[in-house]
């Protein structure tokens, strides 16, 4: 475990923020912390790198008990933990180069080393040409890239992200997510991402925890949680967006051939006369999940849908798991490749 929190208690004056919170975060993973504002997720994040203290409990981060550290040791400990923020937190008067170099300068590295490191980092985050620019000349996405480069300058083991994509438009935010996934893969850095954006949780995180009133209300693999739709998730999304609970719903992942677009789903909805809910964008939630389009529809229309999908040669995976036809993705691929022309003409 990279981070192990046990019975964490924290309050600001009379206001309790974290109440007996337990959390385990695996080494090398990407972990999402979600919750409404005031649920304590940002405070928890700040406890991890000692920006906030906690009143009680134990918090072991990267093998170190955060509470026992002296001021000096705390500073050294923080070198191992990078952090990025919603509003980027760059020094407006410094160039991109000087911003990224700042932590290295604070730790008194030699200028030759700093120079190499800064250029290498800007290469990694994809903005090597912006080296002499000032933050105000950059877009939001580019600023966050600079902040990521700065956070990586001390070769951290953990990267903490506090609403790091909340100030960005969806496209830019996806690009930042892709960058973080890449960083996690290439460097093996554990990422802890605080957010209230569902698309980020689903697109980035492998495991998530939803915080409510300073406690972990639910935690686990992201696709499990989105499938089961526990109360904590529904509270977070708001009932408008959650599935109507009166009607038992079924959720499947459609494996659409490349040639089939989203209109397939609307055509199916029109032809069958039922409502489909598209559950997020094209699923990228985890490497072992089926790539495809998660949709849900009323349970009672199951046979019609099954039949329709069968007729159109669209493979689907029932992610409720317990019933329905489930076709392994490999079988699907073989069949799809063999019947390519037929599938295409039928599906388009």
């Amino acid at each position: 475990m990279m981070i192990r929190a046990h019975n964490i208690v924290k309050s600001f004056g009379d206001t309790p923020v974290l109440c007996d919170l337990d959390l385990d975060i695996r080494r090398g993973g990407i972990y999402g912390l979600a919750g409404r504002s005031g649920a304590g997720k940002s405070t928890l994040l700040r406890c991890i790198n000692g920006l906030e203290s906690y009143d009680n409990g134990s918090l072991i981060v990267d093998g170190v008990d955060v509470r026992t550290l002296s001021r000096k040791d705390m500073m050294a400990f923080r070198k191992r933990i990078g952090m990025i923020f919603q509003h980027f937190s760059l020094l407006e008067r410094l160039t991109v180069y000087d911003n990224v170099a700042l932590p290295l300068r604070c730790w008194k590295y030699k200028s030759g080393f700093i120079d190499r490191k800064v250029r290498e980092l800007l290469e990694i985050v994809g903005i090597p040409e912006k080296v002499r620019q000032k933050p105000r000349e950059l877009s939001g996405g580019q600023k966050q890239r600079v902040a990521i480069a700065r956070a990586l300058s001390m070769d951290p083991h953990i990267l903490l992200c506090d609403e790091a994509t909340s100030a960005l438009d969806p496209k830019t935010s996806q690009a930042i997510i892709n960058l973080l996934i890449e960083i996690n893969k290439q460097m093996g850095i554990t990422i802890v991402f605080v957010t209230h954006q569902m698309s980020v949780l689903r697109g980035l995180c492998r495991e998530i925890a939803i915080l409510e009133n300073g406690k972990v209300a639910v935690s686990g693999m992201v696709e499990e949680i989105f499938r089961q739709q526990p109360a904590a998730l529904r509270n977070l999304i708001g009932d408008d967006f959650a599935m109507p609970s009166e009607e038992p719903a079924k959720m499947v992942v459609l494996v659409l051939p490349d040639t089939v677009t989203g209109s397939f789903v609307s055509r199916m909805a029109v032809e069958l006369g039922i409502d489909f809910t598209i559950e997020g964008e094209t699923s990228t939630f985890s490497t072992d999940a089926v790539p495809g389009l998660p949709v849900s529809f009323p349970e009672k229309a199951r046979h019609d849908v099954e039949d329709y999908l069968g007729r159109h040669n669209v493979a689907w995976k029932d992610i409720n798991g317990h019933d329905g036809r489930l076709e392994p993705i490999e079988t699907y691929r073989e069949r799809y490749n063999a019947q390519m022309p037929v599938t295409q003409s039928e599906a388009v």
């Binding site: 920006l51 937190s89 407006e92 604070c106």
Partner: protein
């Protein structure tokens, strides 16, 4: 003919009395501003460090500093000069003249500068300070490399303001024995019923204010 004799008359006063006083005023102003900047900066450093939302909040230490700053600021400059004259005599050996004026001027300007620098530093985004903490910067580094760095334009603007305020303070000091343009305007101008000296001095002060403001604005634009 008349105009030549007037300009000769003007030149006589200007060369003999006013011109030397310009140097005295500039020396008083620049020395007291430089000293008060240094002392004010040190005070501001600790105010920001120990302040209620500071880097290392310490109620009692902050209270003491805060009290010192507030109580010095509550004295009008002219009272301070008179009241401090024994101390001044100990420090510079005399209680009249431009050297003597530097002591109370510096003392009066220090808390002023301290507040200006403190407010500039406090204006730095909290999250930026958190970011600096998160990569392991020390409190000293956070103040010097992040807060000061980011608030240079604010500090420049504040210093301009305070320089102009204390230019007028040096003229008031003229009333109680300091040299400079203020003393000339009062002693040779006002009290000797010499309007030429009085209004020339006023005009000079006016131009000095313009130049200081212009230089300050230029520096602000350079640093922003």
């Amino acid at each position: 003919m008349h105009s030549t004799s007037y300009s000769a008359y003007w030149w006589k006063y200007f060369e003999g009395i006013i011109a030397p006083s310009i140097g005295a005023t500039l020396r008083m102003l620049s020395t007291s501003m430089a000293l008060s900047f240094v002392f004010g900066f040190i005070l501001a450093y600790f105010l920001v460090l120990y302040g209620p939302h500071g880097l290392r909040p310490n109620r009692s230490k902050y209270k003491v500093l805060d009290f010192i700053v507030n109580s010095i600021r509550s004295f009008p400059i002219i009272i301070l000069i008179v009241a401090l004259s024994p101390v001044t005599r100990i420090i510079v050996g005399t209680s009249i003249g431009e050297k003597a004026a530097i002591v109370p001027l510096t003392l009066a300007a220090t808390p002023f500068m301290a507040r200006i620098i403190e407010n500039s530093l406090k204006g730095v985004d909290k999250q930026l300070i958190e970011a600096a903490r998160s990569f392991g910067a020390s409190d000293f580094q956070i103040i010097m490399k992040v807060m000061v760095k980011e608030s240079v334009p604010m500090i420049v603007a504040g210093t301009t303001l305070s320089t102009i305020t204390f230019l007028s303070a040096t003229t008031m000091a003229g009333a109680v024995g300091a040299g400079g343009i203020g003393a000339v305007a009062l002693n040779y101008g006002y009290q000797s019923f010499n309007n030429t000296v009085l209004y020339t001095s006023v005009l000079l002060l006016f131009f000095m204010v313009l130049i200081i403001q212009w230089a300050g604005d230029w520096l602000y634009k350079k640093t922003v």
